[in-house]
């Protein structure tokens, strides 16, 4: 029971890391086992009362349990004696009931509180993650950890505080009773201890990897369902339902195998416990019978000894059961501590520095998603953007346009070079301040459950209705929003499903404007908006937020040709910078794109 069992019980780093989550629930956590001890005391006391009723009251034996507690004249009056004992038993039962119910409550409060804190800690941790961190785990897996795994731990916690003290106390009390009767025979259950321990070690060693595989397969199955649901239109369009079914069936069969493999081991625990318990009983009866016949032990004592032995082993089995659950839960714990131990890729700093202007400067910036020099997404970017400038960015797919702008609010950190905003290195600012000053409308727009107004207030929690309306007018969203029966109080479903793509983009722009940023970045965020609306949005930008630096990534050249300068990106490099006129003259790529989009119109117009 030294190092190995210690690791098995899990007092190691794993459980230690999540124990602080009990804060605020220490009292119920501690009081539960205490109440449990009282309950156990009653549980040991009540059988003694029962024995007294039977032996003293009904059999009228001269010697019986608890005899010393009662005055002889009471024992003499049989009816009164039995009634007294009965009454005492009812009182004890009520007491035990009270302790039991209280413990049920405190255990629930402690366990649920613990899991609440654990979920909170996890969620907070996840919120501090950079994208690199999140990419490492994948969203579905993080969701599973924060739900299913926390649930497993919560169940363990509850079981642990209810049983972990109760069972040993029970065991000790029962053992004392047994030793008082016959110390030699009582050694039997000392013998069965190593057997149980050995069995547990075996389970811990073989069980855990099997459970890991089981959980993994379960993850896989859910992931495949999720994938199918997301792509159901593709599945149906290509008439691949049968193929999907086959794929799923294979996944389900895999899971079934892993399931049986993992649980099969634990199907052994129950019969093994019974085997140990009954073997002990058998040996006890065999040896005890001899003693009784030999006259060194009486029958009643033998029966009591048997009861106590069963109680000892029963308690042991309970501890064993918890250890089994612990083994299974350890996998969940390590999945959670893995998240908690993850160091946020982009550390926060406490700088009080304010972003003074929307000036941006890239100095020989290189960037790689894999943080390796050999796999650069951006190379040697040199660029100086003055405050209030409007910069258009065009370039092919995967040439690094989105990557470039994502460096500005530090969604990712640069690999080498220098990135300055308002004349200071961006690492000098706190993330909060930096992102307060940079507003970004993303390619993958997202609105959240709640009303339109609530969504817009993400930009500024204190925005007045007038400010919200103004931002929406700038983003050309006011007209359609006011056309909704509930106007700005219209509820949006998850992902904002009840507005069209173009409307969603306009709402996202309004949300970004409400932040009153120093730098506004639009990453291909008007692609679903028709050209005319697109134009009026840009016109509004020019007129109403002239001092804000604007970076616009677009596919449509018309969306950027009126910019102060246009950047042409190619293979992670800036291929050219200039005005529309300049680029038309010297950039072949630019000219090619322009021509393809506009030639015929010019001819026709």
């Amino acid at each position: 029971m030294n190092k190995k069992t210690d690791a098995m019980i899990g007092r190691g780093r794993g459980f230690g890391a999540i124990l602080p989550c009990a804060r605020g629930y220490v009292f119920p956590t501690v009081i539960t086992p205490v109440l449990m001890i009282f309950e156990v005391a009653m549980e040991v006391f009540i059988p003694l009362l029962m024995a007294a009723i039977v032996d003293g009251g009904l059999y009228r034996k001269p010697d019986f349990q608890l005899k010393a507690l009662f005055p002889p004249e009471l024992i003499a009056d049989n009816t009164r004696f039995i009634l007294t004992l009965g009454g005492l038993m009812i009182v004890s039962a009520l007491l035990s009931l009270a302790f039991g119910m209280l413990a049920a409550r405190t255990a629930a409060v402690a366990a649920m509180g613990f899991s609440k804190n654990l979920r909170h800690t996890l969620f907070q941790k996840i919120q501090s993650f950079s994208f690199k961190n999140t990419d490492k785990f994948s969203t579905p897996s993080l969701v599973m950890r924060a739900t299913a795994d926390v649930n497993n731990i919560q169940n363990l916690y509850m079981q642990a505080i209810r049983t972990f003290v109760r069972a040993p106390v029970m065991m000790v009390l029962a053992a004392i009773m047994a030793f008082r009767i016959d110390s030699r025979l009582s050694l039997i259950f000392v013998l069965c201890l190593p057997v149980l321990v050995l069995v547990l070690i075996v389970f811990a060693i073989f069980g855990r990897p099997r459970f890991r595989i089981f959980l993994k397969k379960y993850d896989d199955l859910n992931a495949s369902v999720q994938e199918d649901l997301t792509a159901i239109r593709v599945v149906k369009s290509y008439v691949r339902e049968k193929y999907e079914k086959l794929r799923f069936n294979a996944s389900a069969d895999d899971l079934k195998k892993a399931h049986i493999r993992a649980e099969k081991l634990f199907a052994l625990t129950n019969p093994l416990q019974l085997a140990v318990m009954w073997t002990c009983s058998g040996i006890l009866l065999l040896l005890g019978g001899d003693s009784v016949l030999g006259g060194t032990l009486n029958t009643g004592e033998l029966v009591s000894l048997l009861t106590y032995t069963n109680q000892v082993i029963g308690s042991l089995a309970m501890v064993a059961a918890i250890i089994v659950v612990l083994t299974m839960t350890r996998e969940s714990v390590s999945r959670i501590t893995e998240v908690l131990a993850e160091v946020p890729d982009i550390p926060e700093n406490d700088s009080e520095l304010k972003v003074e202007s929307g000036e941006i400067e890239f100095k020989n910036v290189c960037f790689s998603y894999t943080a390796s020099e050999d796999n650069l997404t951006l190379r040697n970017i040199d660029l100086h953007i003055r405050s209030g400038e409007t910069i258009g960015i065009i370039g092919g797919t995967g040439e690094g346009k989105s990557t470039l702008v994502q460096l500005i609010p530090r969604f990712y950190d640069i690999l080498s070079g220098e990135l300055r905003i308002g004349g200071r290195d961006i690492k000098d600012y706190s993330l909060y301040e930096l992102r307060e000053s940079v507003s970004m409308v993303l390619q993958k727009n997202m609105l959240f459950s709640g009303t339109i107004k609530e969504n817009l207030r993400w930009g500024d929690p204190n925005a007045s209705d007038e400010e919200i309306e103004r931002a929406c007018r700038l983003a050309c969203a006011h007209d359609f929003v006011s056309a909704f029966p509930d106007g700005y109080d219209t509820e949006l479903g998850q992902g904002g499903v009840n507005v069209s793509g173009g409307q969603k983009q306009r709402l996202c722009i309004a949300r970004a404007l409400l932040k009153k940023p120093k730098i506004l970045i639009l990453d291909d965020s008007t692609s679903a908006v028709d050209s005319r609306t697109d134009e009026s949005i840009r016109k509004a930008f020019r007129e109403f937020i002239p001092s804000t630096t604007k970076l616009i990534i677009a596919q449509r050249i018309s969306s950027i040709m009126d910019a102060d300068r246009i950047i042409v990106m190619e293979e992670g490099r800036i291929s050219d910078v200039g005005t529309h006129g300049e680029l038309m003259e010297r950039s072949e790529i630019y000219r090619e794109v322009y021509t393809s989009q506009h030639k015929e119109v010019r001819e026709n117009a």
Binding site: M89, S92, F123, F131, D253, V497, Q503
Partner: protein
């Protein structure tokens, strides 16, 4: 940009529809199963596929219970031998040993049957769960697209997680425990009846009290379990949503607000869970102590002479304890059973939803010359073979998602073989809806759509869709290699054909530069590729399916103009000899269409080719020049 344009309004409207569906009703009806017996019976049918092991398991359970009851019963003669006065020590010893061996045999039987029942029940549970999952997924695949448009993924996923998890608990532990408890209870009751009918009446009273208590607690408990489940769903939904929108959260410094929002939901979950768990935990102590109280009442009654005292009473007292133990075991399982049955009921409700019917009798067959033909049965026997040409006609098509608001009104158009028809118009004009109707994701309300002159409602859906190649606005790729993803378009395509298709889509170049080329694994919807690269693969996927009719729904919206130029060349050859329907915002992509339909509010307001429409100086002209005015 996750959803297609017309979907927004559709979803809004369809929400009313689902509210009426039986499934939705089932979901709202909290967590108490509406008809537990029927659900249980249906669940039980699933054990049919593992009938032999299940019957064996039940026999094992009964043997196990019987052997433990018998073994505990053996204690009496065993003790009696030791107490016996007029017998020699040797004789007593021999008798005692014989009894002990018998008892050991019973115990051995108990251990063995216990092992067998555990393993068999595990196998049954795993098999039944596996079958259930497969059936569920099978049926889900056959549901009409409207179902997926009206339910969130979280909602659909909960069938595979929450509901099956509850069932797993039930099948692993509760069922075994219940059968053991019930068998033992029957044994105990039988023993009690044998001992004293009069005493048994007392126990019957106890049974009633226990039942009422369980019912009372159970009601509270299941109410709180329902509340807990709801809170769990809300917490999960919140996490999922906020994770999906992580970029926005970061961009808006919304982390703290997100945590606050989470804490609110988390707190509600904690409250509900604490209550539910309290009720579940107090059942044990209540049952346990009720038995003690009954014990003392029985002895008291015995003493005051209401019932016969003596050894019968003593034996009886032992059984009271066992009786109470079994009752409390059964009642402890009660909640889990209810919870699991509620889940099972939801799953069955899903399986009972009407599947997408495919009543078409027109199928594709090769004629004598090896050409693909529609095999159209004639009335009164025989059939016609009509070559597959890809001619699509819409005659006065009107369509509404909810039966109230028409999304398309009186649309008539035709697309002759190998023509390119383009649809333009503002968001929500109904462009995507038209394609949804042609591939019969939805059925039209009135009018007629024909394919090579055949009403598409007569054509088998699988064959109809097999001739259509679709590239959707949202690209969705699957976990697997690039090659597998391209082959998704046609299962029997060779590697060469897939590569050829990739070349057509101009995806070959970037694919060959991936770390492992065509064998590069794509993970979670192709997250390791750029949006444009994913789009290229989905175009290759359409190319490999070699469709007669090609539908491009904003297919090139995420591809920059340069890449698009490259694709266009390939697309031109892909489009040759095919009917092509294009939906686009970007007018430059539809210039060379044979006909352009300008849609507004569900009607075609202009039609003609590019030049005609420009000359007309109508809406198309406005749209087109609107974007040019900006310079």
């Amino acid at each position: 940009m996750r959803k297609t344009e017309a979907k927004g309004e559709r979803v809004q409207r369809n929400i009313k529809k689902i509210r009426k569906s039986p499934l939705h009703k089932g979901k709202n009806a909290a967590n108490r199963p509406a008809s537990p017996i029927r659900t249980l019976a249906r669940l039980f049918k699933y054990y049919g596929s593992c009938r032999a092991p299940f019957i064996a398991a039940v026999i094992a359970i009964i043997l196990y219970s019987a052997s433990t009851i018998a073994a505990s019963y053996m204690m009496r003669p065993l003790v009696a031998v030791l107490e016996e006065a007029n017998i020699t020590r040797e004789a007593a010893h021999a008798k005692y040993l014989a009894l002990l061996i018998g008892m050991a045999g019973l115990y051995a039987l108990g251990v063995i049957t216990n092992y067998i029942l555990n393993v068999l029940m595990l196998k049954c549970a795993a098999t039944v769960l596996c079958d259930l999952r497969k059936d569920m997924f099978d049926h889900m695949q056959d549901l009409p697209i409207g179902y997926f448009d009206t339910h969130t993924h979280g909602e659909l996923m909960s069938y595979y997680t929450n509901d099956t998890d509850a069932l797993r608990e039930l099948m692993h532990h509760s069922i075994t425990q219940l059968i053991i408890s019930v068998t033992s209870l029957i044994g105990v009751v039988a023993m009690m009846l044998v001992l004293s009918v009069k005493l048994f009446l007392i126990v019957a009273v106890m049974g009633v009290i226990v039942f009422l208590t369980v019912k009372y607690i159970g009601r509270r408990s299941s109410r709180n379990f329902a509340r807990q489940q709801k809170a769990v769903a809300s917490v999960n939904g919140y996490i999922e949503e906020l994770m999906e929108g992580q970029r926005v959260v970061k961009a808006f410094n919304h982390e703290e607000a997100a945590v606050r929002g989470f804490d609110e939901r988390n707190g509600e979950l904690c409250t509900a869970a604490t209550r539910a768990s309290t009720y579940a935990n107090i059942v044990g102590p209540i049952m346990n102590n009720l038995s003690h109280i009954f014990y003392s009442i029985t002895t008291t009654l015995g003493v005051v002479g209401l019932v016969s005292a003596g050894s019968v009473l003593i034996a009886f007292l032992q059984y009271i304890r066992q009786f109470a133990d079994r009752m409390s075991q059964i009642s402890e399982q009660f909640n889990f059973v209810l919870l699991a049955l509620a889940g099972a009921e939801r799953i069955f409700a899903l399986m009972d939803l009407p599947a997408d019917v495919d009543e078409g009798d027109v199928v594709i067959e090769k004629n004598a010359n090896g050409e693909e033909c529609w095999r159209v049965p004639r009335e009164g026997g025989g059939f016609d073979m009509i070559p597959v040409k890809g001619m699509i006609e819409l005659h006065n098509v009107t369509f509404s998602y909810d039966g109230k608001v028409d999304v398309l009104k009186d649309i008539s158009l035709y697309a002759k073989t190998a023509q390119k028809i383009a649809f333009v118009g503002s968001t929500g004009a109904g462009k995507t809806t038209i394609t949804n109707l042609i591939n019969r994701f939805y059925d039209i309300s009135s009018g007629e759509i024909t394919y090579d002159g055949i009403d598409i409602r007569r054509i088998k859906k699988a064959d109809l869709r097999g001739t259509l190649g679709i590239v959707l606005q949202d690209t969705h790729l699957f976990t697997g290699t690039v090659m597998e993803n391209i082959r998704y378009g046609r299962a029997d395509a060779t590697d060469e054909e897939c590569i050829e298709a990739a070349k057509i889509a101009n995806a070959h170049y970037f694919i060959s530069h991936l770390p492992e080329g065509y064998n590069t694994m794509l993970i979670s919807d192709g997250a390791n590729l750029s949006q444009g690269q994913r789009q290229l693969i989905s175009i290759a996927r359409a190319a490999v399916s070699n469709p007669v009719v090609l539908i491009l729904d904003e297919a090139t919206s995420s591809i920059d103009t340069r890449t698009e130029l490259l694709i266009e060349r390939g697309m031109d050859s892909l489009m040759q000899n095919r009917t092509v329907l294009v939906i686009a915002h970007r007018l430059s992509t539809v210039r060379n269409a044979d006909a352009i339909m300008v849609l507004e509010h569900g009607r075609i307001i202009e039609r003609g080719d590019h030049d005609e429409l420009l000359k007309k100086k109508g809406r198309y002209y406005e749209l087109y020049t609107g974007m040019f005015e900006m310079s």
